[in-house]
C-alpha cells in the first residue's frame, strides 16, 4: 500500500475515533463532564468585542450545544480554529482586528513603518501580514518592479507575487526561435540573474516584512537558483537563510493540467527534491513548493477532483522528500497549498475539508508534528469563471468567490481583475480587485469581529461530508492505479480533468450551466470592451534580446565550464542545486535548460 492508501485508512480511522468519542461522551459520565467543563471554559474565556455600533459579540462563534456527545463531535471532528484537525482554520484570529485597535488599516492614510511593534501584539501573530497577495508580472523586469512598488505602496508588508512570461515558464531564452512576440507577455521576461536583480530592486529581500512568490514550475530550480544568486549579489551570502517566499515548483500538476513541463517527470522530480533538500537546510523560511490545485481547476476539473489531486500530489511529494532523508518535521511545515475558488457550491467547504484531510494524513500516516500538519493555503478566485461578454459582471463573480474563499479561512488570497479574459490586468481593474478584498475584510463586519462567523451551517456541513467522501473515493482510485506517480504516467488525472472540462463546456453550450450575459440574459452585443491593453512594445522585447546577447557574450567561456560542471554533478547523481546556484551567475536560463535536456531528456507531452 502506498502512503495514499494509508492516508485513506487514517481518515477513516479518525472518523471512527470521532464517533467513538461521541458515544463515550454520552456513556462515560466522567469523560462527558470533562468535555462539558472544557466547553464552558472555552466559552467563558472567549473575549468580547464591540462592533462599530456598540453591539457586543464574542470573538469566537461556537455552536449552541451543551450535550457532551455533540461537544465531542465538534471538538474532535472539527476542532476550534487553530486546533486539530483544523477544519475551521489553520490558525486562530486570522482576519480579526487585534483587540487593541489597529492604528492604520492596510489601505489607511499612512503606512506604519514599524513592523516590529505589531509583531509584539500578543496572540495575533497572523495579523502581521495582510492576506492580500496580488499576482503581477509584465514586460521586462524593471516594468514589473515598478508595478510591485505601485501595488505595495500602501501596504505594511511587501508580499510580491510574480508571474513569468511564456519563454521563462518553458525554460527557454528570449532569443529562442519564434518567441519574440511572447517576450514579456502574460508575465515578466527573465533570462538571467541580472534580470532577477532588476526584478526585485528596491525591496529588502532579507527583511521579515518581505516575501516573494514566484509562480513557475518546470524550470523552478533554475529560477530559484537565480533568486538566491541575485539576493547574494545585492546583500551578500548572509542573506540566504533570511529569504522568505514561495516558489511553485509543482511538477505533478504541470503534467496533469498545465503543460509547462520541460524535463521528463522523474528528472523533474529529482531536480525538485534537490532544491527542497537545499532550501530545507539552508533557507528555513522559504516555501520551496506550492502544491497547486489552481491550474487543475482552471484546466476544467471539478472542485472535488481539484482537492483530491492536489492533496494526493502533496502526499506524494511528502513521501518523496521523506525518502530522500529530509526529516518530515523540517520540510512538512514548508509545504504550502494553492487552490482555485469558483462559484460551484463545493467551494463552500472545499478548502475546509482539504485542511482536515491533510492534517489527519500528515499526523497519522506520516507522523508529522503539529507544524507539519497545517494546510497553509493561498487561494485565487477563478479565472475560468470570468468571461469577456459583459465583462463588468466579473466584479460580482469575483466578489462571490472571495466571500467563499474567506469562509474557508484561506491564509492569503488573490482576487482576479475583471479585465482578465482579454488582457494582462490593467491598473484600474487591479485596484478594484484589491479593494474588493479590503471591502470584505476591513470595511464590512463579516470577518473582522468574530472567528467562525459563517462556519458550520447545515448546508456547509452537508457539503463537507459529501466532498470528503468524494475525495477519499478519488484517493482509492489513485491507490488502485499504483499511487500518484503511476496514475500520472497513466494519464489518469489528466483524462479525468479533460473529461470534466468537456462536460463543463457542453453544459454552457446547452444552457444547463447558466452564465449570465453569455447564455442567459444576454443583451445581444458581444463586443470586447474598450480597455487599455498592456502589451509589451517591440522596443522592449528587442532590449531584452540585446541584454541577453550581451550577457552571453560576456560569459561565454565561463558558461561552458559552469555547464560542464553542472552536467558532471547531475550525471553523478549528487544534489545539483548548489552547482546550479553557481551556474546561473554566468549562464542564462535557456542555456541551462538546453544542456540539462541533453542529459536527462525532454518531456514527452501526453495527448
Amino acid at each position: 500500500m502506498s502512503k495514499l492508501g494509508q492516508v485513506v485508512e487514517a481518515v477513516e480511522k479518525y472518523n471512527g475515533f470521532v464517533l467513538n468519542q461521541v458515544k463515550r461522551a454520552r456513556s462515560d459520565e466522567k469523560f462527558g463532564r470533562e468535555l462539558s467543563d472544557r466547553w464552558t471554559e472555552i466559552k467563558s474565556k472567549t473575549p468580547v468585542t464591540h462592533t462599530p455600533t456598540g453591539l457586543p459579540l464574542p470573538r469566537l462563534a461556537l455552536p449552541e450545544i451543551d450535550e457532551p456527545g455533540e461537544i465531542a463531535r465538534y471538538l474532535f471532528g472539527e476542532g476550534l480554529p487553530g486546533e486539530f484537525p483544523f477544519l475551521n482554520g489553520a490558525y486562530r484570529e486570522m482576519y480579526l482586528e487585534p483587540v487593541r485597535e489597529i492604528e492604520t488599516g492596510s489601505y489607511g492614510k499612512k503606512t506604519s513603518s514599524d513592523g516590529a511593534k505589531e509583531k509584539a501584539s500578543g496572540n495575533g501573530v497572523q495579523r502581521l501580514e495582510e492576506p492580500t497577495r496580488l499576482f503581477s508580472g509584465l514586460m521586462l523586469a524593471e516594468d514589473t518592479n515598478e508595478r510591485f512598488h505601485y501595488l505595495t505602496q500602501h501596504q505594511r508588508t511587501h508580499r510580491l507575487s510574480t508571474a513569468f512570461d511564456g519563454p521563462t515558464l518553458y525554460g527557454i531564452d528570449s532569443d529562442a526561435d519564434g518567441v519574440f512576440g511572447k517576450i514579456g507577455e502574460g508575465g515578466v521576461a527573465i533570462d538571467t540573474v541580472e534580470d532577477m536583480v532588476r526584478l526585485y530592486d528596491g525591496f529588502d529581500l532579507g527583511s521579515p516584512n518581505f516575501s516573494a512568490s514566484m509562480t513557475i514550475s518546470g524550470p523552478a530550480p533554475i529560477i530559484m537558483a537565480m533568486y538566491i544568486a541575485a539576493a547574494k549579489r545585492r546583500f551578500g551570502p548572509k542573506v540566504v537563510p533570511k529569504l522568505r517566499g514561495t516558489i511553485q515548483a509543482d511538477i505533478f500538476k504541470e503534467v496533469q493540467a498545465q503543460n509547462e513541463t520541460i524535463f521528463p517527470i522523474e528528472a523533474s522530480l529529482r531536480f525538485l527534491t534537490d532544491m527542497v533538500e537545499f532550501t530545507t537546510h539552508e533557507m528555513p523560511r522559504w516555501y520551496p513548493i506550492s502544491i497547486s490545485g489552481y491550474h487543475i481547476g482552471e484546466a476544467g476539473s471539478t472542485p472535488v477532483q481539484q482537492a483530491a489531486y492536489t492533496l494526493s500530489n502533496g502526499f506524494a511529494y511528502a513521501e518523496m522528500f521523506a525518502a530522500r532523508g529530509i526529516p518530515i518535521d523540517q520540510f512538512g511545515p514548508r509545504l504550502s497549498f494553492f487552490l482555485d475558488c469558483g462559484l460551484d457550491v463545493e467551494y463552500i467547504a472545499l478548502a475546509r475539508v482539504s485542511r482536515r484531510i491533510w492534517a489527519i494524513g500528515m499526523r497519522d500516516a506520516f507522523g508529522a508534528g503539529p507544524r507539519g500538519q497545517l494546510f497553509k493555503l493561498h487561494t485565487q478566485t477563478s479565472g475560468r469563471s470570468l468571461i469577456a461578454a459583459e465583462f463588468k459582471n466579473n466584479l460580482t463573480r469575483t466578489a462571490a468567490e472571495l466571500m467563499l474563499a474567506y469562509m474557508n479561512a484561506t491564509n492569503s488570497c488573490h482576487s482576479n481583475s475583471a479585465d482578465e479574459p482579454f488582457t494582462t490586468p490593467s491598473e484600474e481593474w487591479i485596484r478594484l480587485a484589491a479593494h474588493g478584498q479590503a471591502i470584505l475584510l476591513e470595511e464590512s463586519g463579516i470577518f473582522k469581529h468574530t472567528m467562525n462567523m459563517l462556519s458550520g451551517s447545515p448546508g456547509m456541513k452537508a457539503v463537507e461530508r459529501a466532498v470528503e467522501r468524494a475525495v477519499l473515493d478519488e484517493f482509492r482510485e489513485i491507490e488502485r492505479l499504483g499511487g500518484v506517480l503511476a496514475a500520472v504516467e497513466d494519464r489518469y488525472q489528466r483524462s479525468q480533468i479533460q473529461n470534466a472540462a468537456h462536460r463543463y463546456e457542453e453544459q454552457i453550450y446547452e444552457g444547463t450551466r447558466p452564465i449570465i450575459g453569455l447564455n442567459r440574459y444576454r443583451n445581444g452585443s458581444d463586443d470586447i470592451p474598450e480597455v487599455k491593453l498592456a502589451r509589451t512594445p517591440r522596443k522592449k522585447q528587442q532590449l531584452q534580446v540585446d541584454r541577453l546577447a550581451k550577457f552571453k557574450k560576456k560569459n561565454a567561456e565561463k558558461a561552458k565550464r559552469a555547464l560542464d560542471k553542472l552536467v558532471d554533478v547531475v550525471e553523478r547523481g549528487e544534489n545539483c542545486f548548489p552547482t546550479l546556484i553557481e551556474a546561473v551567475e554566468v549562464c542564462s536560463l535557456g542555456q541551462i535548460t538546453g544542456r540539462l535536456q541533453e542529459v536527462v531528456g525532454r518531456f514527452r507531452p501526453m495527448v
Binding site: 512570461d165 519563454p167 511572447k182 507577455e185 469577456a388 482579454f422
Partner: protein, 390 residues
C-alpha cells in the same frame, strides 16, 4: 466520395493551453475532418514543416498566451517563403485576441479568428465551407512538398474509389533498395510511437546527414474523420531531416489504409536512408506486412500485459516479426513476459530477436540495443531487392 479535409491544429510555442483545441479537434473529427494535431508549445518551424509534409489545406492555431499577432504573422511568412501559401491559416484565442488584433492579423493573411462565444458548429461549418475543396497551387518548390502532394494524390485517388494512380510509382524494383524500410506493429498502448521517436533520435545523431521518412497510421472513427496525433508526442521527429506523414485508415481494417501500399512504395523510392511505417494498434490476428514485401525488417512491439500465456499462441505477428520488443519492461510483469515470449519464439527456430525496452526512459539501454540491431541488420540487407507487394 470526396476525400476528407485534412487540417493541422496546434498551440503556439510557450503556450500550454490545450483545453480548447482538444474540444475543437473532437468536434472537427465528428464532422468528417481529419485533424493532424501537433500539440502544444510548438514552434513556427515545427508547424510549417508539418503542414507542408502533411499537405493540409489549412492550419488552425489556438493561442491563449499572447504574442499572437507576431506568431501568426511568422507562420504566414514562413509558409510564403517556402512557396506554401496555398495552405491557409485560421485561429482563435478566446478573449485574448481582441477585435483590433484580429483586424491586424487578417491584414497579414489570416483567414479568420474565432472569438469567445463562437459555437463549435460555426467553426466546423467554416472549415468545411472554406477548405472543402482543394486549392489550385503553383509548382512545388521543395522536394518534400512535391512528395507530400504526390502522397495526397494517392490518398485522394483511393478515396474516390479509383485504382491506384500508377504514374506516381516509377515501377522500379531497383529504386526501392535506396531505403531501408522498417515496419512497426503491435497492440495499441504498447508504446510504438514513443519507441520510434526514440529510435529517430538515435538515427539522427548516428548519421548527421541521414534522412528518415515516417508513415504513421491512426484509425478513422467509423463514418467520421480521424485524430492523427502521433506528432504531438514524437518530439524528436519534428526535424528537417524527418519527413513524417500521418494517415487515417479510412475504413480499412488490419492496421493500415487502402492507400498505404502505394504511399509506402513512393516513400521507399524517395531517397530516404530509412523509411519507418507504423500501423495502428493491431489485434492478435493482424499481419499488416507481407513477407518479402516492401517492408524489410518487421518489429512487433508488445506490452507486458498481454493476458495469459495462451494468448501468445494466437498472436500471428510473433511468427512473422524479425524483432520482438517487450516495451515497458520496467513493469512488474515484464520478466514473466520476456520468459514466455522467448519460449514462444524458440518454437519458431527462426533466430528472431527479443529485446526489452523502456522507451519512455531517456537513453534507455534497451532502445540502444534495438537501434544497434536494426542499423546492423539493415546495412546487411542493402542490395537485396523486393517486389512491390506490401
Amino acid at each position: 466520395m470526396a476525400a476528407p479535409i485534412r487540417i493541422l491544429t496546434a498551440v503556439p510555442i510557450c503556450d500550454g493551453h490545450d483545453s480548447a483545441i482538444n474540444t475543437i479537434n473532437l468536434e472537427f473529427i465528428r464532422h468528417g475532418i481529419e485533424v493532424i494535431y501537433l500539440g502544444y508549445h510548438r514552434s513556427v518551424g515545427d508547424i510549417v514543416r508539418a503542414a507542408i509534409q502533411e499537405d493540409v489545406r489549412a492550419i488552425g492555431i489556438s493561442s491563449y498566451n499572447g504574442g499572437h499577432v507576431e506568431f501568426f504573422a511568422e507562420v504566414l511568412s514562413q509558409l510564403r517563403k517556402r512557396g506554401a501559401n496555398y495552405i491557409k491559416v485560421f485561429g482563435g484565442g478566446g478573449g485574448t485576441i481582441t477585435h483590433d488584433d484580429a483586424v491586424a492579423m487578417k491584414r497579414k493573411g489570416v483567414d479568420t479568428i474565432f472569438f469567445a462565444g463562437t459555437s463549435l458548429m460555426e467553426m466546423t461549418d467554416y472549415v468545411r465551407k472554406h477548405y472543402g475543396k482543394p486549392r489550385k497551387r503553383t509548382a512545388a518548390k521543395l522536394s518534400d512538398m512535391e512528395l507530400a502532394r504526390k502522397l495526397t494524390e494517392i490518398e485522394e485517388a483511393y478515396a474516390k474509389g479509383k485504382r491506384r494512380p500508377a504514374k506516381q510509382i516509377r515501377n522500379p524494383q531497383s529504386a526501392i533498395r535506396n531505403s531501408n524500410v522498417i515496419g512497426f506493429t503491435g497492440p495499441g498502448g504498447a508504446g510504438k510511437t514513443t519507441l520510434i521517436d526514440e529510435l529517430v533520435l538515435r538515427f539522427l545523431s548516428h548519421d548527421p546527414k541521414g534522412r528518415i521518412a515516417i508513415l504513421s497510421h491512426d484509425p478513422s472513427v467509423i463514418g467520421e474523420g480521424a485524430l492523427l496525433g502521433d506528432r504531438a508526442t514524437m518530439i524528436n521527429s519534428q526535424d528537417d531531416r524527418v519527413f513524417m506523414r500521418s494517415m487515417a485508415t479510412r475504413g480499412q481494417a488490419g492496421g493500415l489504409s487502402p492507400a498505404t501500399h502505394d504511399c509506402l512504395a513512393l516513400l521507399a523510392q524517395s531517397n530516404f536512408d530509412y523509411v519507418i511505417i507504423e500501423t495502428v494498434g493491431t489485434g492478435q490476428e493482424a499481419m499488416p506486412f507481407q513477407q518479402n514485401g516492401i517492408v524489410g525488417e518487421t518489429v512487433l512491439v508488445m506490452n507486458p500485459d498481454y493476458g495469459s500465456r495462451l494468448q501468445l499462441q494466437k498472436i500471428v505477428m510473433l511468427d512473422l516479426a524479425d524483432i520482438v520488443v517487450v516495451n515497458k519492461s520496467d513493469l512488474q510483469r515484464a520478466r514473466t513476459a520476456h520468459t514466455e515470449i522467448e519460449q514462444r519464439l524458440g518454437q519458431n527456430r527462426r533466430g528472431q530477436r527479443l529485446i526489452d525496452t523502456v522507451a519512455k526512459r531517456h537513453r534507455d539501454p534497451g532502445v540502444d540495443q534495438l537501434f544497434a540491431l536494426i542499423a546492423g541488420n539493415l546495412s546487411r540487407r542493402v542490395g537485396m531487392t523486393a517486389d512491390l507487394s506490401c
